[in-house]
């Protein structure tokens, strides 16, 4: 197999290992030297070339980076697998490993070529040129402030309300008006001649505030009805029960 080597070893070895970017790059160079389509390259031959190359480099006491040796060990293993009788248990098979290595080389080769083709395109600043002195475009963003008259007035209202001296507004509450009380007391007292406490004329309620309002307006109503001569009011002493009957 070595007699098929298309390389003239001595020429190659005049280049230092630094000429390659790692073992894959070296493998690709060796593969290209086979001058066949990468897809149909002899992996066994390639492996042999690599191993010979590394052996020669060592003989010349060249500094060999560790990853070249790792690759050499792996390739030596691959070579032995490819040459030895097949072990059906082996997974992946040596042929598949070889195919993967081949695909890897093709991939790197494809990207290398793609890079070269990219660099060869009509590039701005080398082959095509954009305008030398463009005036330039400017987009000035200006805020268009939005506010409605309602916003304005309610804001002012809000300020005034917030900063005005505290003003207490009596909330609406239940009351018995004087007119309602007169009507109610007059109706309830009817033509009764028995004395009854003023409290018995009040509407029944759990609301103490309403009850107080009803008591006050019923008292005023009783006074009004007494003035008209329709009821008689009697109280035995200060804070004693207030008694009412029809006149």
């Amino acid at each position: 197999m070595t007699d098929e080597l298309p390389l003239r070893r001595n020429d190659e070895l005049t280049l230092s290992l630094g000429a390659w970017e790692g073992p894959l790059d070296l493998l690709l160079s060796l593969a290209r030297a086979q001058k066949v389509d990468l897809a149909r390259i002899s992996i066994l031959q390639l492996v042999e070339q690599y191993l010979v190359f590394i052996a020669d480099a060592r003989a010349l006491k060249l500094e060999i980076a560790a990853d070249y040796l790792v690759m050499a060990a792996w390739l030596a293993y691959l070579k032995s697998c490819l040459l030895l009788p097949k072990d059906p248990e082996q997974d992946p098979s040596p042929e598949e490993l070889a195919a993967r290595l081949q695909l890897r080389l093709q991939r790197l080769d494809a990207m290398r070529e793609a890079g070269a083709r990219l660099m060869g395109r009509d590039r701005i600043g080398r082959d095509v040129f954009i305008r030398g002195t463009p005036e330039g475009l400017r987009l000035v963003r200006k805020a268009a402030w939005q506010a409605t008259a309602y916003d304005l007035f309610s804001a002012y209202g809000g300020v005034r309300a917030r900063t005005a001296p505290a003003m207490h507004i009596v909330a609406h509450r239940a009351v018995l008006t004087l007119e309602a009380a007169i009507e109610r007391v007059a109706a309830l007292v009817g033509s009764r001649l028995e004395w009854a406490r003023i409290e018995s004329f009040l509407p029944s309620t759990q609301d103490s505030a309403y009850r107080r309002s009803a008591l006050a307006s019923s008292f005023a109503a009783a006074l009004e009805l007494a003035r008209k001569g329709r009821v008689v009011i009697q109280q035995d002493g200060p804070f004693a029960p207030l008694m009412i009957r029809a006149a």
């Binding site: 987009l139 000035v140 963003r141 200006k142 805020a143 916003d151």
Partner: protein, 190 residues
């Protein structure tokens, strides 16, 4: 359509050049040919387009057609809502003008930032209105005619008075703190 190779070369040379070129300089790039004829032909080609070829002091260059210069600097209005601080400040100025910054702050009960007045002036609604004679000679602010127009007011007399605001319920504090207070007092009633 230009098919003449030399004219194409002159066109590309002028386009790519970083400065106006004399016919001699053009010839250095474009090679052998009638530069002057090419320039005339290009001038005609571009007449009436968005780009024109012009000569200034013996040097030639392409430029954007002057009537389209306004396109190069476009102002774009973006609607933005006036902040609450700015709205309140504007309202106070409208109701109390001319008014100093210190007075605005006293009425608002909150300090105003420099930016707030700037925004109102940028919007064209507020203008400086001289200084008040007195300690510190504070700068005064007032509203503008544009302000009246924007808010649909014939004059400042059209601003609703305090009683109008009260009738419209606008003197009721509107913020959340207050609506919470209201809820609490309702609870107490029960």
């Amino acid at each position: 359509m230009i098919r003449d190779e030399f004219t194409r070369a002159v066109e590309a040379t002028l386009f790519a050049s970083t400065e106006p070129l004399t016919p001699d300089e053009i010839a250095l790039h474009a090679g052998d040919g009638d530069v002057s004829a090419a320039l005339n032909s290009l001038t005609d080609d571009y007449a009436g387009r968005g780009i024109e070829l012009v000569e200034r002091g013996g040097r030639w260059h392409f430029q954007t057609a002057p009537d389209l210069a306004h396109l190069l600097r476009r102002t774009r209005e973006e609607p933005r809502r006036l902040s609450r601080a700015a709205t309140e400040t504007l309202a106070i100025i409208a109701y109390h003008e001319p008014v100093s910054r210190a007075e605005i702050e006293a009425i608002r009960g909150v300090q105003i930032s420099k930016g707030t007045l700037d925004v109102l002036m940028e919007a064209g609604w507020v203008r400086p209105a001289g200084r008040r004679e007195g300690p510190g000679r504070p700068l005064l602010y007032a509203t503008t005619a544009e302000f009246l127009a924007h808010f649909g007011l014939g004059s400042r007399r059209d601003l609703p008075g305090i009683d109008d605001l009260k009738a419209a319920g606008l003197l009721d504090p509107l913020d959340e703190a207050f609506s919470q207070l209201q809820l609490e007092s309702v609870d107490e009633d029960d």
